[in-house]
Amino acid sequence: MMPEIWELGLSAISRLIGQRKLSPVDVLDHYLDRACRLNPTLHCFSTIDAERARIEARSSEAEMSRGLYKGRMHGIPFAVKDIIDVEGVATTNGSRLTINEVAKTDSAVVQRLRAAGGIYMGKNETQEFAMGGPDFSLPFGPARKPWDIERFTGGSSSGSASAVSAGAVPLAVGTDTGGSIRTPSAYCGIAGMKPTYGRLSRRGITPQAFSLDTVGPMTWTVEDNAIALEALAGFDPEDPSSVEIAPQPWSQAPALGLQGMKIGLVRHFHEEEQDRFSNECISAFETAALLMKDAGAETVEVRLSPLRHYFAAQRIIMYGEAAAIHEYDLRHNIEQYGPFSVERFLPGYLLTAVDYVQACRRRGELVHELAEVFRFVDLLLVVGALSVAPRMKDVARNSLVNGTPSANAPFNLTGSPAMSVSAGLNADGFPLSVQIVGRNFDEFSIYRAAHVVEAGMGCGNIRPHAAR
């Protein structure tokens, strides 16, 4: 039986469009139908822009008829987290406060995807200002996890992960300040890349914490993800964090395997928190390590500073910067924010300037420590999420302060590229994940390793129940 279009995923659809065996209009209609059908259950879109998307798809088809093919993203529908500007569409930030703030221009990432032939399909639900939680008091969402709608998608790119996981869109663009691409990717069983800080422009994206914010692609597979990054990455003089550095041919990486590479295994992060990381997540880590070794990599144990040191510095910097961004509104319009957000923004106002500076000093030391480690290894393997997704009702408002240290946060602190990749399912059929971390600006090696894990686990074609 022929698979449906959504079951093909981005890379196969892209190939078929390039061969003129699939029409961008048919692809879009298929995804629009799925998005409209699934959204009342999953709440993964805050906006579905069908009319404009159909115009763009017809335009793509006309371009291809004239022999103008723009590359692998041409004719591919995409969605963006609702903190990312799209001209003429409200950037709601998932908040009552900004529900009617219509963007005047496209963000840099939307400009780049459109220039590559991508078709904007809609906005994905976000936790409020990328900081709040699964809050039922707000106008949108919370997004539901397609594997079990009672469980948490992870955040804050919640709708992005939900939509990709359910096959409602082949590419979603999320943002990551302390794990907001990687945690939802882990919980929803998809591939999420947090690129190196400065690799992608953040122009036109509502900031959460200036020195930690990154934007990146969320897709079903590693190969899909690499194709999307090729379209998204590029220098932007209008983003002060943007770095002028050549892109890499990321989509070629998955075919290369791991022969000759040296992988550092960061076991001590989860061993220090042994009662908090679930055994099945630790098993996924060990299986991924074996798969990498079988693929020809050398694996060595690596010891960094304790996870809690990285976590503390990341959190203090995040709270301080976020509090500065929201100071006016939390002083004057606090009633407009949801209770999750209020509780999560407040710590920033209770810190001192000295706390922030000490966090920056610690950051400098930890960045240096990681750079030294990368003199001897090519990649790091780190545990992914703490466990499979918790039930939505069990997510605490104060979990950002009081919860277990996140293994994602260290790599926002250091600016390193890091990817969450699906690492099989647990006994209950929920996705497991691992995290692969690279040298700055070496997303290429991450894709090589991530593909080995994904292929070795054999989970690339498993879809959640809600997608059916």
Binding site: A312, A313, I334, V342, L346, V357, R361, V401
Partner: protein
């Protein structure tokens, strides 16, 4: 002020200094998390050299035409005695 036993009055002073007006529920929630927040902040205090500087905190931008500014010309004239 002891971190693990901050009084409501002391905490209210911190909130006031921040310029926030919290309702009772928000105030109590923030107070509950405060001890853990201080733990995180205190864990950053490790023995280090006084000169250990967070150098990435500020990078001075290059001035494209520094030598051409009126201030620079004035300073140069003073140093060289030119008028």
């Amino acid at each position: 002020m002891q971190i693990d036993r901050i009084t409501s009055e002391d905490f209210a002073a911190l909130v006031e200094r921040a310029g926030l007006s919290l309702n009772q529920a928000q105030f109590e929630a923030a107070l509950r998390s405060y001890g853990r927040l201080r733990e995180l902040a205190e864990s950053l205090r490790i023995p280090r050299n006084r000169a250990a500087e967070p150098a990435h905190l500020f990078q001075v931008p290059a001035s494209p035409h520094a030598g051409a500014s009126a201030f620079a010309k004035t300073e140069t004239r003073r140093e060289t005695g030119d008028e």
